[in-house]
Each structure stands twice: as C-alpha cells, then as structure tokens.
C-alpha cells in the first residue's frame, strides 16, 4: 500500500513520467481502479494483522496509529502540497471529536455500524466546515503569520468548553460522553475499534491519494511554488488554498472522531499542544507531502511514547521525569535535525537512495 500511495507525493521531487507506466495496462489508465485495489489490499493486510493477535492487548497500538494516520495524511497534504502551515492541527481533531459526540447525543438513536459511519462522516464534515472558516482566514496569511495564528488556535480552542456559557453544552473540562461501537459477534471491542480505525485510515488515504494524483493536487503544488504564476494560469489562489484546508481538516476531523470513540469521551484534555506538535513532527519526519511518509511518521510518534520507558531503561536512567519527556524530546530533535539535515524526510531519503541505486530508471 505504501508503495502505491507514494506516487502522488512522489511527484513533489521526482515528477511522474509522461508515458512510462504503460506496462501495467488498464491499471495505469484508471486511477480509480489502481487506488481502490491498493486500498483493498491494504485493508486486507491490516485485517489479517488485527485478527492474528491472540490477545488484544498486544495489538492496542494499531488503532492509535491508524487514527494518527488520518490526521497526519491531511496535514501533509496541507503543508507539503499546498505550502500552507498549521501548527495547530489538534484543533481540527478537537472539532471532529466534539462534532461526533454532539451528533451522537442529539441525533442518533441506534448504535449500529451504519450510525457509526454516519458519525465519522459528521466528524469529518464538522471539521471540514471549521477548516473552511480557518482556511478563508488563512488564505490571507503567509508564513509566520499563519503559523502564529494556527498556534493560537490550538492553544485557545481547548479552553472553550470551560467557558461558562458553553460548558453546559460541551461538558466543561471533563468533556462529553461518547458511547462505544457495537462489535459484531465473535469480535471483542478492542479489535473492532482497530478495524474501524484502520478502515477509516484507508478511506482517508484513498481520498487524499486521489486528490494528490489529480489536477487538484497539481493546483496545490502550483500555488505552493508560485502564487502569481498560478493565478495567471487561471487558478484562484484563495480557492485552492481554502480547499486544501478543508480536505486537511476533514482528515483531522475523522482522527478526532476516532479518538473520541476509543476514549469514550470528547474532552479538551485529549488535544494538548503537544498533539499538534507530534503531528507536525510525523509529517516532517516522513517527508512533507508524502502520504506514505505520513504513515511512517504516525507509526513513529505513536510507538515512541510506548518505547520511551524502554529507551530510558536501556540508558540506565530509571527516571519517570526522563522517560515521560522522551517523546517530546524526540519530536523536537526530529523537527530540528530533519529541517537541517534531511529536509525531505524519510520518503525523500528513500527516493534519492533509489535514484542513486538505479539511475537508469529515469529517461
């Protein structure tokens, strides 16, 4: 799956060939077929993985990776393809989580699986709507101004549920209750959550891969590279930028909805600033603009907290202070070193490695 999904973002550095993929026949001609096949294969592999663990506790990391992928994939499209920055993508996750909780509280009567798909779609839509709002403002802002505004958003939004006039509706600091999905017969809740998260991640990746591969993705990159030239080509720069924000926020909204579904709450505590920083670290680490990179990066930032106790133990520093700050430390180092040493991330490294190993591949 990773290899298939690389192609759209691959164009960021190595442009896709004009006419070189004919050997795959119909697959090369139909994006729909190619991406859908990749998505099905990917989901199949994940299904096997989820069901192969005899004890769910050994697979508890799958669901968090999967929902992180949803948010990171959206963020990498925004930052890497459209060239806008968001230091506060956790805010969109928060909106997704609260949308899901509110819709569930007020409008749903069943807890069936159809209802759940609807709830996740609502989370995506709620975040997308909020993304449109932020995007309209963002389209007027550049570089550090946009960075500062999104940072303020991620810091400010989680305080809103505590506001006296809203705390009744938003549950204050404790947040809102979210009821758990009903697993089908023969499957435990944790496994079912993993299945839902993985299916959502595959759908989000499928959509974003379609977009990246399409003319819309090309417009994102054109606007990122040169706004004036893009407008002379007939593109509406603000419209393209808002669209990128909407898509990106929708991905984060799904992630927030899934997080709420696993935690059984939608509360402000789940969306600290470090979450937004972690997402940014994930996409920078994986290589900006690369969906495959968003997957690697999400794996890294999800597993890191689980490993950090082992890392500190291995360093013979048995300190909770050290181990609890280890993930944050690694995010900081990853962000800085990646920008200074490997500005193209893992995906860029892999690509340049492949180009050195097989130089004849390009005409």
């Amino acid at each position: 799956m990773a290899d298939e999904l690389e192609s759209p973002a691959g164009a960021l550095i190595a442009p896709t060939s004009a006419s070189s993929t004919d050997r795959f026949g119909v697959l090369s001609r139909s994006t729909l077929l190619r991406h859908t096949l990749a998505a099905l294969v990917g989901f199949g592999v994940l299904w096997l993985l989820i069901t192969s663990f005899s004890d769910y506790r050994n697979s508890s990391w799958i669901a968090p990776i999967a929902f992180t992928v949803c948010a990171a994939a959206g963020l990498t499209v925004l930052v890497g393809l459209s060239g806008q920055i968001s230091l506060g993508h956790g805010a969109f996750m928060l909106v997704g989580a609260y949308t899901l909780a509110l819709v569930q509280e007020h409008w749903t009567t069943s807890h069936g699986n159809l209802a759940m798909i609807g709830l996740l779609a609502a989370a995506a839509a709620g975040a997308a709507l909020f993304g449109a709002l932020v995007g309209v403002a963002a389209a007027r802002l550049r570089g550090p101004y946009l960075a500062g505004a999104t940072l303020a958003l991620a810091l400010g939004l989680p305080t809103l549920p505590s506001y006296e006039k809203l705390s009744g509706k938003l549950g204050g600091n404790a947040g809102l209750f979210v009821s758990s999905p009903n697993p089908p017969n023969g499957m435990d809740l944790y496994r079912w959550q993993s299945v839902i998260c993985c299916a959502s991640a595959v759908v989000v990746l499928w959509v974003l891969a379609n977009v990246s591969r399409s003319r819309v993705g090309r417009s994102f990159r054109a606007v990122r590279d040169d706004e004036i030239a893009a407008s002379l080509c007939g593109l509406s720069v603000p419209r393209v930028q808002v669209l990128a924000f909407v898509l990106s926020a929708a991905g984060a909204g799904v992630a927030g909805g899934l997080l709420a579904m696993i935690d059984l709450t939608a509360g402000p505590q789940a969306f600290p600033l470090s979450l937004s920083f972690g997402l940014l670290a994930a996409v920078v680490f994986g290589g900006l603009g690369s969906l495959a990179g968003a997957i690697y990066g999400s794996i890294l930032i999800t597993l890191l907290p689980l490993w950090s106790q082992d890392i500190t133990d291995a360093l013979s520093v048995h300190s909770h202070k050290v181990s609890s700050n280890m993930p944050l430390m690694v995010y900081g180092i990853v962000l800085t070193v990646a920008m200074l040493a490997v500005p193209n991330g893992i995906q860029g490294l892999l690509r340049s490695l492949r180009l050195t190993l097989a130089p004849g591949r390009r005409r």
Partner: protein, 258 residues
C-alpha cells in the same frame, strides 16, 4: 478593423509617483506590438494594469469592445489573455509537462468531485490535458524534456517552457515580458522566427529591450518614457523619431537588463 485590446488614457500613480500618465495603446488581431522605453518608463506597470495586478486611477481597458473592470489575474486565461513573467515564474517542483498542464487549466472540465473519488472522468480529463500540453511542447521542440524539472534546464529552454505554458491556454492575446532577456543570439533569432509563426494565431504584445528583435518582428511600436507615450507607429517611423532618440540618449550604454 476593431481592436482586440484597447488601453485608453490610463493613469496609474504610486503615492506621489506617476507610473503611467494618460497612456493609450491598442492591438488588433494578428498583430505584434512592441512596448519599448528606458528603464522605469512604465512598461511593466502597463502589463500589470492589463493583467489586473494594478488598478488604473483613471482610464479604461477594453477587451474585444467590452470594458474590463476590476478583473482579476486569474480571469485572464478565461478571457483569452496569457502572459509570461519576467522572472520565468515556472513552478520549480513541477515537471515541465506538469507546468504546461497547469497552464491548460481553462481547458479542464472535471473538478473536485472527480478528484476526490478518482472518477474515470477525471482520468479522461487528465489524458486530454496531457495530450494538449505535449502537443504545444512538440510545437516548441521541447517535448523531449517533458519529464524534467525546470531547474535542470538551460535558461533558453526554460523560456520556451514558460512560453508553452502560456500558449497551451490557446490565448487570443499573448503578453510577453522581456522574452529575449538572457537569450543567446542564436536563440533570439529562433524566437523571432517563432513569433512570426505565432502571429498567425495569436496577437502578441511584448515588452523588450533588444531593439534588433523589436524592430525585426513588431508591426507597430509604442515608446514610453516617464510613464508617457512619446511615440507610436511602425518600426521605421519610431526609429527616426527625434523624441525617441532623445529618450534613449545615454541609455544604450547602461541598459543591459530590466
């Protein structure tokens, strides 16, 4: 014959500075019109007014007889006006082919729905854009570098790519901002030949410093100095105009680039 584009009495001020002072000019179908003048004469400002980057304080623009008011740069392609930029303005991380495909935006039919769901319609659209882009690249003899990034190419070739990106939109009017700057003599001769071929399908308005090229290819020339039109007419008329000589006196030596 009625004019394709008419600029009537346009004045543009930046603060206290008058960049354009009652400038009028026009271009009709199949014409190549050159705009020349010393540095700071207002040539690029005139282009920017036509493109909607700057608004005239007074005066009007007419496109095919209709007034252009508050038009945005992105609407130009739809109107049938394409422009190349002085600094090339190629998208550095897009391949040559993709650059030209972005230029063909106005021919695209499928949009966000097909993109989200990867509908076959979007694929057909892409095929069609790709075909168009490759055709224009072949016409300009640069189809072989379609997969390369602009930064890997010599300057003269990049200029052709920029031209291809403008032409792929099938414009009625092509605005060229210093098309010859940075070109070798051979490349400049090729450009002159190319412009003569192009004028069969498209009118060309060009800002240029290289007098040889301007005298060679232009049907008419407008001379600007300090934001004012000081002469206009055929190359022969302009060449002999004493005001033009005066404006250019001393300029020939220092005038290397824009």
């Amino acid at each position: 014959m009625s004019a394709l584009l008419e600029v009537q009495d346009v004045t543009v001020r930046f603060g206290g500075l008058t960049a354009l002072d009652n400038v009028s000019a026009d271009i009709t179908d199949g014409e190549v019109v050159g705009i020349i003048g010393p540095n700071g004469a207002g040539k690029t400002t005139l282009f920017n007014v036509i493109c909607g980057f700057n608004r005239p304080d007074t005066g009007t623009l007419r496109w095919q007889g209709n007034a252009l008011q508050r038009h945005q740069p992105r609407q130009l392609a739809g109107l049938g006006i394409a422009r190349t930029l002085q600094g090339l303005g190629l998208f550095p991380h897009l391949s040559v082919l993709e650059n030209v495909m972005v230029g063909a935006t106005k021919h695209a039919r499928a949009w966000i729905g097909s993109a989200l769901l990867a509908l076959p319609r979007g694929d057909r659209d892409e095929q069609q854009l790709r075909k168009r882009a490759l055709e224009v690249l072949s016409e300009l003899d640069v189809a072989d570098i379609a997969d390369r990034l602009p930064g890997q190419l010599p300057y003269g070739v990049q200029k052709r790519v920029a031209l291809a990106r403008a032409l792929v939109a099938d414009p009625k009017l092509l605005l060229l901002d210093e098309p010859a700057s940075g070109l070798s003599n051979d490349e400049m001769r090729e450009l002159a030949d190319l412009l003569r071929v192009l004028k069969k399908d498209v009118s060309v308005l060009l800002v240029e410093h290289h007098m040889d090229l301007v005298m060679d290819v232009c049907d008419r020339i407008v001379v600007l100095d300090f934001g004012r039109v000081i002469a206009a007419g055929t190359p022969a008329e302009v060449r002999d105009d004493p005001r033009v000589l005066e404006a250019y006196l001393g300029e020939e030596v220092t005038d290397a680039d824009g």
